[in-house]
């Protein structure tokens, strides 16, 4: 598991917030942060400048319209 000293960002954030945590707790949080940052790196590889934080709402609203009926391309479904 990484130590908090391996990830000075985490240590510094807690210092600025005025929060004091035991070193083993800081190490655990660092471990999670490292894991989540790695996931963020994989996302970054796919992001263009046009990807903004409001795009999700647009994506939801422009996706498939509501339908209570099955897909029309099902064999034998004449609707």
């Amino acid at each position: 598991m990484p130590q908090s000293s391996d990830h000075p960002f985490v240590h510094e954030v807690f210092r600025r917030q005025g929060l004091t945590l035991p070193s083993e707790r800081l190490a655990a949080l660092t471990h999670t942060a490292v894991k989540l940052s790695a996931a963020s790196r994989t996302l970054e590889e796919r992001l263009s400048m046009s990807a903004d934080i409001f795009g999700f709402l647009t994506a939801l609203r422009s996706s498939v319209p509501p339908s209570a009926t099955p897909s029309s391309d099902v064999p034998g479904d004449k609707r």
């Binding site: 807690f14 949080l29 509501p66 034998g76």
Partner: protein, 470 residues
């Protein structure tokens, strides 16, 4: 009609009985209050009851009937209660926490206002996890909530009181909220239907936030019809919540739509990873869906663990930001588990959080062009195992495997913002409920309701647990 019979009625049926004069609103409300007291003695499902006010409202409805002026409304006289996270005029919500609002609410949350406008009578407020930040139903400030089927087991959280009260027949449906499974898990643990709607379909104005980019408010009920009824009353734009948006949809009409040929996608490898007894229940549930006329199609789902990391980036960063002031000034007023969870957000750089938000449309597209290309709805378990006991998920073991079992299929899907309907399976080999979920495309709630109703037509409506064991 006996009190026990009243406790079995759906909201639709109870409203019809009151409208027809077969039951008075006062009888309905008094029965719910009496039952709430008995149920909470066994389960701790109720935080507070507003008996006097509720009975006064009910008598006013009955008096209006006698004057020939019965109020129009789909829920006139129907007693309801919800997770104690919604603003209600004149009330201070507990938020399941020691830290609470400083003053009584001056306005109702939008969802509470809409249910009141439909004529419902609010009888009180229900148990929830501290700040809605636990999936189990433990709460060191309110006391733990217990599963109505077995007091040694969790009811699921964070909408623990909602699930317990509905499963016990106190009320026909109840509102909960779901950030990482908080509607679906309690619904599964208590043998109910529960809908996490498309993100933004139902206004969140006046509700306690946890992580607003993931938060969704939705109903838990004993039958699909009440889910549809609640949705028909709650979905839609709201000037107080800019994200609220609902395309026109006939939720009640969807209940009678055919599901013949509807494609239900399932990932065999995913189902092989759950507890064998639960896998058996999943196989049976999938077979029942096929019996309704749906078609099971095998699909491959993207990696849920990676998806869960994206969800965690959003959830922890937002939750910690919302709690930053209290975390600094009143850290001692949080339970250890919730404070520990909130500490995670500090360790997430803003850039990582923003990348997770920017990437959401791309990841959503992966799912729409991937498994949803071959399926109309996707079939997933809600939990990887049986309902855990309170001891297995106790506060000092909060990060252990049992919690992972509850989050595994739920928090990742919240990142997608897609609607998910939890449906009850048969009981497991120990007699406990369980559930599966059907995930739909954006705003595909009508499709979920159609197949949910078809499933319910095959398996029947779950009966309320009328006499929970003390």
């Amino acid at each position: 009609m006996t009190p026990s019979e009243l406790g079995t009625l759906s909201a639709t049926a109870l409203a019809a009985a009151i409208r027809a004069g077969d039951v008075t609103a006062e009888q309905a409300v008094r029965t719910a209050l009496t039952r709430a007291e008995a149920v909470t003695a066994a389960t701790n499902a109720v935080v507070s009851l507003d008996g006097s006010e509720a009975l006064a409202e009910a008598r006013a409805i009955d008096a209006a009937r006698r004057r020939g002026a019965f109020p129009r409304g789909a829920l006139t006289g129907v007693p309801l209660a919800h997770k104690d996270m919604f603003n209600r005029i004149g009330q201070i919500a507990t938020w399941g926490a020691r830290i609470r609002p400083m003053t009584p609410a001056t306005r109702d949350a939008t969802v509470i206002g809409r249910l009141k406008a439909a004529g419902s009578v609010t009888i009180g407020a229900l148990h929830m996890a501290e700040f809605a930040f636990s999936i189990t139903g433990h709460n060191e400030f309110l006391g733990d909530c217990r599963n109505p089927f077995s007091p040694d087991h969790i009811p699921g959280g964070s909408s623990s009181g909602s699930a317990t009260a509905v499963a016990s027949g106190v009320i026909p449906f109840s509102l909960g909220s779901d950030t990482g499974g908080s509607i679906r898990v309690p619904a599964a643990c208590c043998g109910l239907y529960g809908l996490r709607p498309t993100w933004g379909l139902i206004s969140r104005a006046g509700a306690l936030p946890l992580a607003p980019s993931l938060d969704a408010i939705g109903p838990l009920a004993r039958n699909v019809g009440d889910i549809a009824l609640a949705l028909s009353l709650l979905a839609g734009a709201d000037p107080d919540d800019a994200t609220a948006h609902a395309p026109g949809a006939d939720y009640l009409g969807a209940l009678t739509s055919s599901v013949k040929g509807m494609r239900v996608g399932y990932d065999r490898k995913l189902l092989e990873r759950v507890d064998p007894d639960i896998a058996r229940l999943m196989d049976r549930a999938l077979a029942i869906l096929v019996e309704t006329g749906a078609v099971a199609v095998e699909v491959t789902l993207p990696d849920l663990r990676e998806l869960d990391r994206y969800a965690q980036l959003v959830q922890f960063a937002e939750a910690t930001a919302y709690h930053a002031v209290w975390m600094r000034d009143r850290p001692q007023d949080y339970s250890n588990p919730v404070r520990s969870l909130l500490e995670h957000g500090y360790a997430i750089p803003a850039t990582d959080y923003i990348q997770a938000l920017r990437a959401r449309p791309l990841v959503l597209e992966d799912w729409l062009r991937g498994p949803f290309r071959h399926a109309d709805v996707l079939f997933l378990p809600v939990m990887t195992g049986p309902v855990p006991t309170l001891a297995e998920t106790a506060a000092d073991r909060v990060l252990i495997t049992a919690i992972g079992s509850l989050l595994h299929f739920n928090r990742p899907l919240a990142y997608l913002g897609l609607p998910a309907l939890c449906l009850p399976t048969a009981r497991d080999r120990k007699g406990m409920p369980n559930g599966f979920q059907l995930l739909g495309r954006p705003y595909a709630e009508p499709a979920l309701l159609s197949i949910g109703q078809a499933y319910q037509n095959r398996v029947g409506v779950p009966k309320p647990v009328i006499s929970p064991r003390p």
